[in-house]
Structure formats: structure tokens, C-alpha cells
């Protein structure tokens, strides 16, 4: 019996050439993004954005936010931040979300200026579910990792020979839906708010 695969491929036979466009290797220069423009676009995407001096200030930012909003003083953070975060007024745990976290803190791999997008890559020290299961998501981002376009990000990714992780999340704002009467509502299934903490 011929397998489904063979039947499909047989029908596509003659379409197995590699002709067409010759693909030149992508040797464009990698363009960095404009920080001011990035903050403008992320604000249009309904993100909160703050300039933060150091890791300690980042923790204080989260703690203040929770206090001001009468929320419990707990947060879960990406394990890669464990060595950077010292004792603080926050009740911090490190790991991945079990679905009931108010606040989560992650580190962005990079960001993209022209669409106001954060890039987060999964790894053993950067779990994916933190990006989706918390109510309030705080993402640390180094200014120098903002690229101009998606293409610049991917060129940088290739130039540094970074492997493809299980998941690369491009995140352009808090979770949203317009499925009822085309009215945009934030906080559909993922975070209700996305805070970008910009650092040097």
C-alpha cells in the first residue's frame, strides 16, 4: 500500500526542484533599534514601560506595583534571574508557573523596534509559561538588545549561532481579544498588563 506521504509527494512530483530564486546569504548589517521609537510603539501596544537603573531597582518597581495595587507581595521569576536578584521585600520564587501567579518576572532575549515587540526564548532557565499564566508580566530588557526589525533580530540570532529553542515568543503587548462585538479587551487568557523594564 502506498502511504499518504507518498501519494501526496507523488502528486507534487516535479515540484521538488530547488530552482526558482537563488537565495543569497543574508549579509546585511544588523541595525539596532531607536529606543525612543521603541518606547512609543510599545506604549501604543498598551505596554507599560519604565527605565530602570539596576536589578535591585527592578525588584523595587515590581514590589511597589504590587503594593500600590493591593496585591500580594509574591512574584515568580525566571531561574536565569536567580543569581542577579538579591534579598528584597518581595517574596520571590524561581521556576515556571503553575497557573496561579499574580506577577511573573522574565528576561527578554531581544526586542524589535518597528513593531514594539519583545522576544523571549525558552530554555532550562527561561520557562515559557511565565509569559502566559501570570496576571502581571514584568520583562527586563537591555537597551542594546533592541533591533530595528524582525529581520535584524534573526540576523543577529544567526550571526551569534544561537540554536532554535523549543519556543521563541514574540510578544507585542498584553493579551487581548476583540471576539465580542469587535471591542478590544485586554487580559483575555494571558497577562492583563505587560511592563517592560528597560535597563542599560
Amino acid at each position: 500500500m502506498i502511504s499518504s506521504k507518498q501519494t501526496i509527494l507523488n502528486r507534487l512530483d516535479g515540484l521538488r526542484s530547488t530552482e526558482g530564486k537563488a537565495k543569497p546569504p543574508n549579509i546585511t548589517t544588523i541595525q539596532k533599534g531607536n529606543i525612543e521609537r521603541f518606547t512609543e510603539i510599545t506604549a501604543e501596544n498598551a505596554c507599560e514601560i519604565a527605565f530602570i537603573e539596576n536589578d535591585e531597582a527592578a525588584l523595587n518597581y515590581v514590589a511597589n506595583f504590587l503594593l500600590e495595587n493591593n496585591l500580594s507581595n509574591q512574584a515568580i521569576a525566571s531561574p536565569e534571574l536567580q543569581s542577579r536578584f538579591s534579598k528584597n521585600q518581595l517574596d520571590l520564587t524561581f521556576g515556571t508557573s503553575q497557573g496561579n501567579d499574580t506577577a511573573a518576572i522574565s528576561q527578554a532575549t531581544a526586542a524589535i523596534e518597528d513593531t514594539g515587540t519583545l522576544v523571549l526564548s525558552s530554555s532550562k532557565s527561561s520557562p515559557t509559561l511565565l509569559n502566559f499564566l501570570s496576571d502581571y508580566h514584568f520583562v527586563l530588557l537591555s537597551k542594546e538588545l533592541i533591533f530595528r526589525t524582525k529581520t535584524d533580530f534573526w540576523s543577529w540570532h544567526a550571526a551569534n549561532k544561537l540554536p532554535m529553542p523549543r519556543a521563541i515568543n514574540f510578544i507585542s503587548g498584553p493579551s487581548r481579544t476583540a471576539d465580542i462585538e469587535q471591542t478590544i479587551q485586554l487580559g483575555a487568557h494571558g497577562p492583563r498588563q505587560l511592563h517592560i523594564l528597560l535597563m542599560d
Binding site: L12, R166, N169
Partner: protein, 461 residues
């Protein structure tokens, strides 16, 4: 595959026009998508350039489809994932079922997938005793209403907030509460579905693009439901059709550049994720099993034929949003999974010309669909080709064919044509006199256009 009721388009369209709630919902939606798209493309220096890059990427992929699918399979396998090939909808459904059974799965969460709509996957899995919850808010609403989607990216666009509130009251046993605001509806769905997300054994999602060079699946959503379905359960199953594959990440980026702008008017949707393989050994989350099912369902037969252009479709929905027919009838009138102009082309191609006879005519041929299609699909001319094939296969109603035959004959003999028109005119006037209450004709003149013209010519010096 869900049954195709497209042959009843005319009656379904009539009923849609008389349905007041549907008309309210459609009128509310009317300019929303159109204006958002316009704003988004005005923010780009040269949207036509982005369109041409996306089309080039897709055309290259289609000319090399077999090769790219094999490359994609090799990459997925080398990352630890599994590929399954399904020629028919039944095969896809059975593959999903056997994966669920192998993993002793009981509970499934599902992100939006038009391919699974095409195969009727939900009904099939439920019949086999599995509990499946749609998690895209729009899909969830229509799952509760037991209806098919009426729009490819806004499945519940035909529902008013009152209808959604009613569905939630009937299905969520949460006592007395105020559901009059959209905010409270969204919040309730969040609370209810969160429990399903974190108890699911299997997550099923669609795919917007497949990348051959890396073996990645690209998924675009706004709610984050696709990512939760893909990253929480132990098993992630992707249902995708074969023409979704492109060669490189750059090609995928070219398509993403036009997809969000054309669909929801976003330069990039809130969440775009590249999934590559299952959970790595030391990862703290992610699925242990990563399966991709590639569905053909007649697409490979369209390659190298007169309808190949249709395979460029990226399912953005812009042609629906700009269609004067869709905007008035909504999606259900079209009788199958895909509505609007792209549905009028795809439905007869995937189900058979005789299964969707009225659809190639469900168009005013105004051409807006082609104008807004980011992939440059010549929808009106594809509809015309379908009409031609219908005619060649003698699929139109007998009266229609006789009328066309008579017209062809008359148009060969101008004198016969003019005297028949004059006769017709007289008949119309006569019937109007005999049945004054019936509005049979609006003709006010007693002479035909040609008769009046000739009279005028004679009078002129």
C-alpha cells in the same frame, strides 16, 4: 468532513438577511476591520512592496512544495518531533485520536485551527469520548452555541454581546451575576478556561506558517490561548495544511509582515511564536510529545492547475471584511467552513463543483477582494473560471442554461435580437396592465432603447 450545505446558499442568504440579530451584529462589525487595516497599511512606507515580498516567498514555496515538505519533515524529526501525513480529513481525525489514545488523554484544549474545522475534528473526538474545549474566545462561544465559525479570524462575529451572555448563563453554573458588559464576559471566560488550560492532557493548535529550514511551526494569536494549549499539556498536536510551508525564516517574516496588518490591522499580532520540537531535556515546561499533521485534502491536485493561485491564501480574512455579499449575509449562508470570496473559491475546489453550485455566483464582482488580498490572489477571475467550469460540466440549472443558449442564439442575429426585445417590452407592459398590483416591471417607456434612439436620429437634422 462537515457536510457542505453550499447548494442552499440562496435560501440561507435570504434567511440571514431577515435575521435581525445577525444584521445587528454584522452592522456593528462592518467598518471595524476595514478601518483598522487601512490605518495599519498607511503606517507602512510601502505596503505594496511588503505584499510583493510575501507573494514571492509563497510562490517560491509552492514551486518547490514537495522538496520543502520533505526538508520540513527531516528537520522536525531531527528536533525530536513527529510528522504525520493525512491525505483526507478522516485520516487526520484518526491520527489525532490515536495520539490521544496512546497518551491516555482525556482532556484536550484547542487553539483556533481552520484545518480542524475542515476535518470536523471536534465532533469526531467528542464522539470518541474525549472532552475538547475550544479556547479562542470566539471559538469557545460558537462551541457553546454548537455552531460553525462564521468568519475565519472572528468566528463569533455574528453574535451580539446579549447572545454571548445568554450562552454563558446557560453553560457556566455561576449563579446570579451581571454579564451586561463585554469586560465581564471576557473575565468570566478567562476564569472558566484557565481551569481547562491547566488540566489539559493534550493541546491542539493550527499553524500560520511552517518553516522548512528549521522545522518550526509559527503560530499567531492575540489572546495567548494557542501558546497555553501548546506549552502546558504533555502533548502538542499541530494541524496544518501542506501549503503552509515556506523555505526560510525570512520567508515566514515576509508573510507575517502582511498577515497581521491585513487581518486585524496590527503590525504584529500580540503573540507570534516559533515552536521547534518538543521540550528540551532540561526545560522546565513545554510538551514532551510534539506532533504535526500535514493535511492535503485535495490541495496537491490544485498545483500546476488553473486554481493554483488560491494556495497562496494565508487566511487573513481581508476579502471577507471587504465583500459586500459577506457583509450582508454573514458566513453561515455560505454553507461550509470558509465563507466570503476565498470561501466561494475554496469550497467548490475542495468539495466538488457540484457541491457548491451557487458560490461562484455569490459575488458582485466589484473586485475589492482582489484589491485587499495581501497575497495577490485574483479572486474574481478564479470565480469566473469556476463559472466556466460549471458551464462546461453542465452544472447550472436547466432554465439557466436554456436562457443562456437563447441569448447566445439571439446575439448572433441583431435584427432578431432587437425585435425580440421589442416583443418582450410589449409583453411586460401587457402583464403590468393585467396584474396591476404585482410589481413586475418598472419600465415606464412604451418603446425600447433602440426604438427611441432611432426615432431621435430621424428627428435630428
Amino acid at each position: 468532513m462537515p457536510s457542505c450545505r453550499s447548494n442552499d446558499f440562496l435560501h440561507q442568504a435570504e434567511r440571514a438577511l431577515e435575521n435581525e440579530q445577525l444584521q445587528t451584529a454584522l452592522n456593528r462589525a462592518k467598518s471595524g476591520f476595514v478601518n483598522k487595516r487601512l490605518n495599519a497599511i498607511q503606517l507602512v512606507d510601502d505596503f505594496e512592496f511588503l505584499k510583493s515580498k510575501a507573494q514571492q516567498s509563497k510562490n517560491y514555496a509552492l514551486t518547490n512544495l514537495g522538496h520543502l515538505l520533505e526538508q520540513f519533515e527531516q528537520k522536525v524529526v531531527s528536533c525530536g518531533g513527529h510528522i504525520h501525513w493525512a491525505e483526507t480529513p478522516d485520516q487526520l481525525n484518526n491520527i489525532v485520536l490515536s495520539i490521544c489514545q496512546e497518551n491516555n488523554a482525556q482532556r484536550i484544549t484547542k487553539g483556533k485551527s481552520m484545518i480542524s474545522e475542515e476535518t470536523g475534528l471536534n465532533v469526531f473526538l467528542e464522539e470518541n469520548g474525549l472532552r475538547l474545549i475550544e479556547t479562542d474566545l470566539g471559538e469557545y462561544i460558537i462551541q457553546l452555541a454548537k455552531e460553525p465559525p462564521s468568519h475565519i479570524i472572528a468566528p463569533a462575529v455574528h453574535k451580539t454581546r446579549q447572545q454571548v451572555a445568554q450562552l454563558f448563563e446557560q453553560n457556566h453554573k455561576l449563579g446570579n451575576r451581571d454579564l451586561s458588559e463585554i469586560t465581564s464576559l471576557v473575565e468570566e471566560a478567562r476564569q472558566v478556561l484557565r481551569k481547562d488550560f491547566i488540566s489539559a492532557d493534550v493541546g491542539i493548535t493550527g499553524a500560520n506558517v511552517l518553516v522548512a529550514e528549521t522545522g518550526s511551526v509559527v503560530l499567531v494569536t492575540n489572546e495567548g490561548n494557542g501558546d497555553l494549549s501548546a506549552s502546558w499539556p504533555k502533548t502538542h498536536i499541530v494541524t496544518a495544511s501542506i501549503e503552509k510551508v515556506v523555505a526560510t525564516i525570512e520567508d515566514a517574516s515576509n508573510i507575517l509582515d502582511v498577515l497581521g496588518r491585513s487581518a486585524t490591522g496590527q503590525s504584529m499580532s500580540t503573540y507570534t511564536t516559533f515552536f521547534t520540537g518538543p521540550k528540551r531535556h532540561e526545560d522546565l515546561d513545554g510538551p514532551e510529545n510534539f506532533h504535526i499533521i500535514l493535511l492535503d485534502n485535495g490541495r496537491s491536485k490544485l498545483m500546476n492547475g488553473p486554481f493554483q493561485d488560491m494556495l497562496r491564501c494565508v487566511k487573513c480574512g481581508a476579502c471577507l471584511n471587504h465583500c459586500p455579499v459577506y457583509s450582508n449575509t454573514g458566513g453561515h449562508a455560505y454553507g461550509w467552513v470558509y465563507p466570503g470570496p476565498m470561501g466561494s473559491v475554496l469550497t467548490p475546489l475542495l468539495n466538488g463543483l457540484d457541491q457548491a453550485k451557487p458560490l461562484p455566483n455569490a459575488s458582485t464582482f466589484c473586485g475589492r477582494c482582489e484589491e485587499v488580498c495581501p497575497m495577490g490572489i485574483p479572486l474574481p477571475s478564479l470565480l469566473r473560471k469556476l463559472r466556466q467550469e460549471q458551464h462546461n460540466n453542465k452544472l447550472e440549472p436547466l432554465l439557466w442554461r436554456m436562457g443562456l443558449g437563447a441569448y447566445t442564439l439571439l446575439s448572433h442575429y441583431p435584427r432578431l435580437y432587437h425585435s425580440s426585445v421589442a416583443l418582450g417590452q410589449k409583453l411586460l407592459i401587457l402583464t403590468k396592465r393585467l396584474f396591476p398590483k404585482k410589481s413586475l416591471s418598472t419600465a415606464q417607456d412604451t418603446q425600447t432603447f433602440m426604438q427611441q434612439w432611432k426615432a431621435k436620429q430621424r428627428k435630428a437634422p
